[in-house]
Symmetry: C2
Subunit: 129 residues, 2 copies
């Protein structure tokens, strides 16, 4: 893979870059995940968000088990070249494995992280099929 | 610093966490930066975004040289505890050192990163005083 635009990304020593997924319609920041070169290339070519799962050590085609795929509307690179922003159409309106719209559902209130967003669909339902 | 909520963040081996700054009004994702414990604590207590500059190896009080401070409206933690989202009021409407609203001003077009956003104020002007 000697794709010029891919090499303009400043990959970490581990060959990864942090990626923000933002809902193209609501503007809500949905999640932060990681990509390696292969994930970013597949994302760009397929138009579906593909990440690198650090915990599982493999490509993670977002929605592969939940159905909550992300169709990519735009891919942006930051000034330093070491962070990426995706604008996505979030299938099901749920990005988080907890069944919430966004993974950022806890807010700092009175020196504690409090859950502020409701579950839209229970994980049992999401991952049952 | 044995603050309970601070220890609920899953700090990297280097003691850092990635932080997304989003404009509280426009919803625009402005930048991705990093914090250590000290930066997050000072951010929470002062209400002004403080990051850890990996290149300079020191705390970076956003806006210290540009004046483009970020007043923090909300601090959120993601489901895995390893990413933070700030809602901020961006002083001057400029987050990027290039003089643009957002650091994510380059988009992937025809297999190349193209500059899509205009400079609001030249860096010469921003950093002259």
């Amino acid at each position: 893979m000697s794709v010029a635009w891919l090499e303009q990304v400043r990959w970490s020593e581990a060959g990864l870059v942090p990626v923000i997924a933002q809902d193209a319609h609501s503007g809500r920041v949905l999640m932060l995940a990681w990509m390696n070169r292969e994930a970013l290339l597949e994302t760009a070519r397929s138009g579906q968000a593909v990440y690198w799962s650090r915990s599982r050590g493999r490509l993670w085609r977002k929605g592969e088990s939940s159905g909550h795929r992300q169709q990519v509307v735009d891919i942006r690179l930051d000034c330093d070249g070491d962070a990426i922003l995706l604008q996505v159409e979030q299938r099901g309106g749920i990005a988080c494995h907890t069944g919430r719209e966004s993974c950022f559902y806890r807010g700092l209130r009175d020196e504690a992280w409090q859950t502020l967003d409701a579950v839209i669909k229970s994980p049992d339902e999401i991952y049952s099929s």
